[in-house]
Symmetry: C2
Subunit: 346 residues, 2 copies
């Protein structure tokens, strides 16, 4: 027999899940009659409340740490959610630690691993460029997730779950070129960014060249203001306002995150222009907002949920000695929204 | 002398912060000349890299747990960010644990406190209705943040940081009434929700009554589909689509979260109608998207950052024996966007 869930109990009693929960947890406000009925059904079906407290392993060392660079990037929200759930389902605890922009994450990881007796580590975001000697100091299983890695590091020294940021960025840019756009601005990360920002910028430039368009440095836009978070709506908004003020001609904007694309749209609307009639706007990531924005935003959808699950799956396969190192590159999907259209000379 | 930061070093060298970081961390890709120059400036100004690894206290028990109900609510993203940063700044670790909808958070907290030797706990979201006996089992300092608490629990048994959800919801509804709207729909939490959803619904109804409007039950809208996350864009979208199909007349929608308001707008646009010309739409929370959406969304801005800081401040004041229990209610702000307008009979 399939085990019965709290939802089944609620259904059988004709009440909501939280009412069942109140009955189980001795909520003082619940109607006595309802409570009695619920407790009868629970007994009848032998329902055992799935209480994670009861499932917790009795040892404090079952902890996985997630070390995150760029905690403010909304793309990470969904990922953290899945990490948290997947780690908790395996009855491990989830320790979240922010890595400062200029901080050495390996030093941090080595120390944390020792002090918290970690069983595994996920590095989320950032850019990995450490020497092999350095990487070898980290004895705990680890996986790099959705970040960038220097090509100089041999793949046998780490595990990773990524999309091909270069290829996917190329795909989006090529799409805009095929729509007839020749003057395409990019809202990118600060120029000294060594992470996915650099890869997406490279993909952009190569796609232009392959479409016989010479990249115009005046259309590569970014902010160096340290108070602005890269990849944020505000960043996209400020950079686009600045771009519009330069008077430099363009017909499309490709922002390397959906949040930045939302900010770009807002700046365009505020200037009295329209998306996509005056400017096409495209993003990257495939956040919910790309669908719910008005107009919906053309984007590259990263399979964030699958990537997060795979990250944890690989981490636990390493912990369980099923694999030593593993690499997985996911394909992302071009999702065409209402924010881009064919360019026609006016 | 003020201590010099990595940004100052970057400025003095005419490079970006991450270039300085690469120099410090022996990045293999950096230009040797640049590196030499940076290391000279670092030596000259006696700059000491602020490496949180070096600051970590050498004990594994300095851990604060955040127990979260409703991890998918984007309002919590900013809060978690501030928690994480404030906790890390105090050299404590941050353990994140999701509480199931029907789970008893006190049982969970008592167990976690013991197993992880927690120094403090924040309960984020949810609804507190436990008996005093139950609460007394939890010996570790704790603060309830942005959730709801049953009036039956004496305030001397817990600490809290909240907004007055009833009052703020009343404020928004009253604003819509004063604009001349009489047929106002609310997108609320499922009817058996015992948390802030209930309080916001109550404030809504009272404001209608005080404006001589009889609440119309057909305009109180929610979803019981368990696969839909309350407070999400999708929830607002699906509920509004359903409302539009009923043919029930209304001129304004008040969604009890900004994300739901975004979803509501999308459903309205898809039906060929306009915001605010055909329907006014208002939200709650004051997320970034309420400003960047097109049109910007009228909302109640919760001071999320201050509330989060205050939560951690109170928690550490309890840990440090400076206070025993403390309660703080923040005022929220009505922010008028472009999504609401005066109702004029057509």
């Amino acid at each position: 027999m399939e085990s019965i869930t709290i939802k089944d109990i609620a259904k059988k009693c004709g009440v909501g899940v939280s009412t069942v929960s109140r009955a189980i947890n001795n909520h003082p406000d619940i109607n006595e009659e309802t409570k009695t009925k619920i407790m009868q059904v629970i007994k009848e079906y032998n329902y055992i409340p799935n209480n994670s407290a009861r499932n917790l392993k009795r040892t404090e060392s079952n902890t996985i740490a997630v070390l995150i660079k760029g905690i403010t990037n909304p793309f990470f929200n969904n990922i953290l959610k899945v990490f948290e759930s997947e780690i908790q389902d395996r009855k491990y605890s989830f320790l979240l630690h922010r890595v400062e922009e200029h901080e050495d994450e390996i030093d941090l990881a080595v120390l944390l691993a020792k002090e918290k007796r970690l069983k595994g580590i996920v590095f989320l975001g950032g850019y990995f460029y450490h020497s092999i000697e350095k990487l070898k100091q980290l004895k705990v299983p680890f996986v790099l997730s959705t970040g960038g890695v220097s090509e100089k590091i041999d793949q046998k020294y780490y595990s990773s779950v990524m999309v091909d940021d270069y290829k996917e960025s190329y795909k989006m840019t090529d799409y805009l070129c095929k729509l007839g756009h020749k003057k395409i601005a990019i809202i990118s990360a600060p120029v000294d960014d060594e992470s996915i920002g650099k890869l997406r910028l490279r993909g952009f430039k190569q796609a232009l060249i392959d479409n016989n368009i010479t990249p115009n440095p005046n259309l590569v836009r970014y902010q160096v203001d340290d108070t602005l978070e890269t990849f944020s709506m505000k960043y996209g908004y400020e950079v686009t306002k600045e771009l519009l003020q330069t008077g430099e001609e363009f017909t499309a904007i490709y922002a390397i995150s959906d949040s930045m694309a939302v900010g770009a749209c807002k700046a365009i609307f505020e200037s009295g222009k329209k998306v996509p009639d005056d400017y096409s706007v495209a993003g990257f990531d495939g956040l919910d907002i790309s669908f719910y924005y008005h107009p919906s935003i053309t984007t590259i959808r990263q399979p964030a949920e699958e990537m997060s699950q795979e990250t944890i799956r690989i981490l636990f396969d390493i912990i369980d000695n099923k694999v030593n190192k593993e690499h997985k590159t996911f394909d992302a999907e071009l999702v065409i929204g209402q924010s881009t259209k064919e360019y026609k000379r006016k």
